[in-house]
């Protein structure tokens, strides 16, 4: 069943959902990246929760005018408007009062959602209130998706993606260093607003498939995952988009392949699964490689410090250092150096003295900046330069009166 789902053979609805989810995932991953880089990832939670009252009001208004309350486009317009108001409230609270941005986000998020819930129950009491359609916007519902819905999502997603790509340079600049961007003449406030507007658009587009509570996942998880694979901004959004699309497609397929597997949560869990794999195994920042690198570094530091202590006749204070030196045959259990240890200690001390001299010399400022306590100067300088330093070590120091 799963294989069929992945190759789009499970029927019309499943195919629509899979493709729609994929496009949504790409758009969310790319757009979410810029909010994430700007260190404002959770504003998207406020935006998504603030859509609810708009949805409710749109329904009520449409029914009042005799239209079908469940028209997706009407609901989405309503959601966009109230999310926009919510955004403005977040700005206002954090700029005009002593409250910090996180409090503003949390307040708007919960209050707007609460108001939305009130409206949903109002609709429940209305005669035209078959609000089952509205409930589904909380967690998404892909049963009986209409072709028009799919077109809406596809077009909306594509538009957002296009706009994001057009604006990616200014958004990256502002995210990386807003002061520098402002000094370069960019209108930081407007670019921030544009970023959040794009996030809002993705949220609105995604309401149908994953619902407002889970859309945040698609805006945050792929960019964070991408961050484990690259240090370059241009790559982050690319990888995030790919991961988002993959999660959407695979998630939708899995959900279609068996009953009682709601689409929204499955897509989110697929995205999270990809994240966990990256967390563990990414060569740059994954748990495995980080821990190994860290342990190795710690050993190097302790080894170096132990050797320097031996060379200078100082006691070794930390048990770990002594055990390490013992294990490597450089010292005995009582802290006295072995022959090998004495040789290595002398070398370490020489290197240390060379670095000390070098770091005080104007001429070698560039090399001095590379000092990290461990790198042997012999691997950086030429034999002549080393000889020069050695003479300075041996020369009698000037004594200032």
């Amino acid at each position: 069943m799963l294989l069929e789902a992945l190759t789009l053979q499970l029927g019309y609805n499943a195919t629509l959902v899979a493709i729609g989810a994929m496009l949504l995932g790409i758009a969310a991953g790319v757009t979410g990246t810029f909010l994430f880089l700007r260190k404002r990832a959770l504003v998207s939670d406020a935006i998504s929760h603030a859509t609810l009252p708009g949805v409710g009001l749109a329904f009520i208004v449409m029914v009042w005018f005799g239209m079908d309350g469940r028209s997706l486009i009407g609901l989405l317009i309503g959601s966009a408007l109230s999310a926009w108001v919510g955004l403005l409230c977040v700005q206002w609270l954090s700029n005009r009062t002593r409250l910090s941005e996180d409090s503003a986000i949390g307040a708007v998020l919960s209050v707007f959602f609460g108001a939305g819930v009130v409206l949903l129950t109002v609709i429940q009491g209305m005669s035209a209130g078959r609000q089952a359609g509205l409930d589904s916007l909380l967690l998404g519902s892909t049963a009986g998706m209409l072709f028009s819905d799919a077109i809406l999502i596809a077009v909306g997603g594509a538009l957002v993606l296009a706009l994001t790509l057009v604006l990616r340079r200014p958004m990256s600049l502002v995210a990386f260093d807003s002061d520098y961007a402002a000094a370069s003449g960019l209108n930081v406030a407007r670019i921030d607003l544009a970023t959040m507007g794009l996030v809002l658009a993705v949220t609105v587009v995604g309401l149908k498939i994953v619902g407002l509570i889970l859309i945040v996942a698609l805006l945050i998880i792929p960019p964070v995952t991408a961050r484990f694979w690259t240090e370059r901004t241009e790559r982050v959004w690319l990888i995030a988009g790919g991961l988002g699309g993959l999660s959407g497609y695979v998630g939708a397929a899995i959900s279609a392949s068996a009953p009682a597997l709601p689409t929204g949560p499955i897509i989110v869990l697929v995205a999270f699964g990809l994240f966990v794999l990256s967390l563990l195994f990414s060569p740059a920042r994954g748990v495995l490689s980080s821990v190994l690198t860290h342990l190795q570094y710690r050993r190097s530091v302790h080894r170096r410090q132990g050797l320097l202590a031996l060379a200078q006749g100082q006691p070794i204070y930390e048990g770990y250092t002594l055990r390490l030196l013992q294990r490597e045959g450089l010292a005995r259990a009582d802290g006295v150096a072995t022959e090998e240890g004495q040789a290595r200690a002398a070398k370490a001390l020489l290197d240390e003295k060379r670095w000390e001299i070098l770091r005080g010399l104007q001429a070698h400022k560039a090399t001095a900046a590379r000092y990290d306590g461990l790198t042997n100067l012999e691997t950086i300088l030429t034999k002549d330069q080393l000889r020069d330093l050695d003479t300075r070590i041996a020369a009698p120091r000037e004594v200032t009166p």
Partner: protein
């Protein structure tokens, strides 16, 4: 037994004596972020009853040194003792004055309240604040010249006033060792005078004062010992020994003009 090893044994004995008496002795302290060390293998032995300035260029790790020694940051390696004992057992004898910028001054609390925070070890979780505690706090405020501000909301204070309140909090602890992180940064001249007067009076009482100091021009005036650091220790000793043209050159590299260094090391 080789000469080196005999020397080692003798060296160990002298070291041990030094450490037992030192108010703050640090051995092999290394802090790194990723694989770039902020400070590397730092040894420091503070002399009892001294006023020591920790100086070095920006990013040299001066604040990091203080914080790692006190356990606020986790070091990669390091052995820290206070009067020969492990740091954790001597916390009652240490008073710390952090950088002013590290705190949100919009916090809902008054000047008196902040000073009373210094009495936490005495008050614990539930003991009531009594007259004697208020007395201690009042004396501390008096000593820094902030008695009139006791009930003021801290957000209403100027930079200099905030710094004095921080100092009063430390004074209320009645500690033996005072560690300050850039106590003179961004304060007015009157406050600077007031603070140095308090620090000197502490020294007169036999206390030990260690301060990360940013202003080279006043090192000789204010301090009697200096510790120069630039990721690694550069020099340690009395101001005459450690604060010389040579050591400054080594610490600051090309960042100070030679004329500046000459002027600084010859003043006083």
């Amino acid at each position: 037994m080789t000469a080196l090893n005999l020397a080692t044994q003798n060296g160990h004995c002298a070291q041990a004596a030094n450490i037992a008496l030192s108010p703050l002795a640090i051995r092999g302290l290394t802090v790194s972020y990723g694989e770039k060390p902020a400070i590397f293998s730092v040894d420091m032995t503070v002399q009892p009853g001294s006023m020591t300035a920790i100086i070095g260029p920006n990013g040299a790790g001066k604040s990091t040194l203080l914080k790692a020694a006190l356990g606020i940051i986790r070091p990669l390696s390091g052995h820290v003792t206070v009067f020969g004992q492990p740091l954790d057992s001597q916390r009652g004898r240490i008073a710390y004055v952090p950088q002013r910028a590290s705190v949100d001054w919009d916090f809902p609390t008054t000047v008196l309240d902040v000073v009373l925070m210094g009495l936490y070890r005495e008050l614990g979780l539930l003991r009531m604040v009594r007259g004697e505690h208020r007395q201690t706090a009042a004396e501390a405020l008096e000593r820094v010249g902030m008695s009139d501000f006791a009930n003021r909301q801290i957000g209403q204070l100027s930079g200099g006033q905030q710094q004095r309140v921080f100092l009063a909090r430390a004074l209320a602890q009645k500690a033996d060792i005072y560690l300050l992180d850039e106590p003179f940064a961004g304060v007015d001249a009157a406050t600077e005078k007031a603070i140095i007067a308090v620090l000197k009076s502490l020294k007169a009482e036999g206390k030990t004062v260690i301060a990360v100091h940013h202003d080279l021009a006043t090192v000789e005036q204010y301090f009697d010992h200096a510790f120069l650091i630039n990721t690694r220790p550069i020099a340690e000793g009395t101001v005459a020994e450690a604060f010389t043209a040579e050591t400054l050159q080594a610490a600051y590299g090309g960042r100070l003009a030679t004329a500046q260094i000459d002027r600084l090391s010859q003043a006083g």
